[in-house]
């Protein structure tokens, strides 16, 4: 029996087989969509670049060489050099680490936080719901970039603070989504059934409700990535994220502004990197929505 037949069988013989089969079906559906595949490739490229940066970068990203300032792209410098003679290609490669760090840290904070607040508010209802939702409203009332700026300015520059600032402004919609899903799910028969079995509230929230809300949160996260990356770039642009000489893409675009007309590559190359990764997450998010939603309905 081939592997795929074993995975797709209608009568799995163990928990592991059932779970793997499910995952396999999701994966093949995901990959069958060409646009999603492109998105996945773009995102993976960034991950690969970040992980294998020391081997992929052709030169030291911090090495300055005033004799080689502002050189156009060539075989020596694939993306040219910047105003301090540093190789832009290597800086873009190493910059992916910063972007990846920010994106992963924000996702890891925001997803679970929003999920917990949303499911608890949605399931318990009443006063708990009101309090939690008003707190959410307060955070949502501020324009994201402005609030991120305020926090970054108050906490001081640096990547960690940038991550905190972005996370604080990003979590409210996730709580809202999780709460909306929870309210719908609470009315379903399978939740009534588990309540009638005598399950505790925490068991229901963790084992029954949260797993069904995760899809919406994940989809929203992937689609939000582009926004998160741009805010991080925005903070970097304004000098509030990673500090020089760190090769943060937003900061690179900012310094490249001054040379935009004659030495366009200094700002454009990191700009393209930001664009590609944002696009990748968007395409991936769309594809994820297609596979995660129908199963639920």
């Amino acid at each position: 029996m081939s592997l795929s037949t074993w995975l797709l069988t209608d009568t799995p013989r163990s928990r592991a087989q059932a779970r793997l089969g499910n995952a396999f079906l999701s994966a093949t559906t995901l990959l069958s969509n060409r646009l999603t595949l492109i998105g996945l490739v773009l995102v993976l490229s960034m991950v690969v670049a970040a992980v294998f940066a020391p081997w992929l970068a052709t030169q030291d990203p911090l090495a300055q060489s005033l004799a080689e300032r502002l050189l156009p792209p060539s075989t020596m410098h694939l993306m040219g050099t910047d105003q301090l003679g540093r190789d832009i290609f290597s800086r873009v490669i190493y910059g992916s680490r910063i972007t990846l760090t920010i994106v992963v840290l924000v996702a890891v904070i925001v997803g679970p936080l929003g999920l917990v607040i949303g499911t608890v508010a949605g399931y318990l209802g009443g006063a708990v719901d009101t309090v939690l939702m008003r707190v959410t409203d307060i955070f949502m009332a501020f324009p994201r970039l402005v609030l991120a700026l305020a926090f970054a300015a108050a906490l001081g520059p640096g990547i960690d603070n940038a991550v905190i600032a972005i996370a604080i402004t990003t979590w409210p919609p996730y709580a809202r989504i999780a709460r909306a899903e929870t309210i719908v799910l609470t009315g379903s028969d399978f939740i009534s059934a588990i309540r009638l079995i005598g399950a505790s509230k925490s068991r229901i929230l963790i084992g029954h409700i949260a797993p069904l809300c995760i899809s919406s949160v994940v989809i929203r996260l992937t689609l939000d990535m582009a926004g998160i990356i741009l805010i991080a770039a925005g903070l970097g642009f304004l000098g509030l994220g990673a500090q020089p000489p760190a090769p943060e893409w937003g900061a690179m675009v900012a310094t490249g502004r001054d040379y935009l007309i004659d030495q366009w590559w200094v700002a454009t190359m990191p700009g393209i990197a930001i664009f590609m990764v944002s696009l990748g997450f968007n395409l991936l998010g769309d594809g994820l929505r297609d596979i995660l939603d129908p199963k639920l309905r």
Partner: protein, 283 residues
């Protein structure tokens, strides 16, 4: 009247998916005139799909093919979208199961019904609204003006279904398809809605295709009955001859129903025979 109104020969509906091909309708053939034809089957029998094929409502990955699929001489197999517009609603119309989901929730009832008329007749809005009110009265709604101004969620199930029938009859079609029209309604309302359908169909000389899972209901309401199983028609009978049906599936269906007046310890269970369809598709 003269020849059959609807002529279907060797209809197939197949679905192509990653897991393989599903043959939902497998070589179905039947004809009908201006009569009440009932199609009975369980889920997975293909009854709804075969009728949706008549309206060109089977979309990819579904594929429809037939040797003959004709409405009064018009070949329904290769119509363009434009041509379908002149068939759907105008010549064949369909009433669905639940008016909560088949009526537009953001339009007033009167507007929806008027729209159904305007789609096929070139008259003024005022005229269409007036005809809508007439139609609502024809389906025995006592206060047509109030219902015309109402939205779908303000109506009860029975009223909603009557509004749906009014809407579907506006363009004066030749055939009305009713797909489980009373399944979502309370029992006491079912009879009323059925009598309205009966009256409308008879007075206008229309053909009616009545799809249901309820064999008893169809037998008492229709003139002729088709029984479908596994994508095939397994029996075709006059309604009044149904109790003497011969096919084991039909007999099985009749036998496994609990009935008032018959005390039984356990109900007869349908023994599915693979011979009824070449491969039995799990529902």
């Amino acid at each position: 009247m003269t020849g059959p109104l609807l002529h279907i020969e060797d209809l197939h509906v197949d679905f192509h998916s990653r897991k393989g091909e599903t043959n939902a309708v497998r070589g179905v053939s039947w004809q009908m005139g201006r009569e009440k034809l009932g199609i009975v089957g369980e889920s997975g029998s293909g009854k709804s799909l075969s009728v949706r094929a008549l309206l060109g409502l089977v979309r990819p990955p579904g594929e429809v093919r037939a040797r003959r699929l004709e409405l009064d001489g018009v070949d329904l197999r290769a119509l363009s979208a434009r041509q379908w517009q002149s068939i759907r609603g105008r010549r064949i119309s369909m009433v669905l199961q639940d008016p909560r989901y088949s009526l537009n929730p953001v339009m007033r009832i009167g507007d929806q019904i008027a729209e159904a008329y305007l789609a096929h007749h070139d008259v003024s809005h005022g005229e269409a609204q007036a005809r809508a009110l007439d139609m609502l009265a024809a389906v025995h709604i006592r206060d047509p003006e109030r219902v015309a101004r109402a939205y779908q969620h303000e109506l009860s199930g029975g009223m909603g279904q009557r509004a749906m029938i009014a809407m579907m009859l506006m363009p004066e079609p030749e055939i009305l398809i009713a797909d489980e029209p009373t399944s979502a309604l309370d029992i006491s309302v079912q009879t009323q809605v059925l009598s309205i359908i009966d009256e409308m169909v008879t007075s206008r000389g229309m053909g009616l295709i009545f799809i249901s899972h309820d064999l008893q209901l169809v037998a008492s309401f229709c003139d002729r009955v088709l029984i479908m199983y596994g994508g095939r028609v397994v029996e075709e009978r006059l309604a009044k001859e149904l109790p003497t049906a011969t096919h084991p599936y039909t007999r099985g269906l009749l036998a496994c129903l609990p009935r008032l007046g018959e005390r039984r310890e356990s109900l007869a269970v349908l023994e599915r025979d693979n011979a009824w369809s070449r491969e039995v598709e799990a529902p």
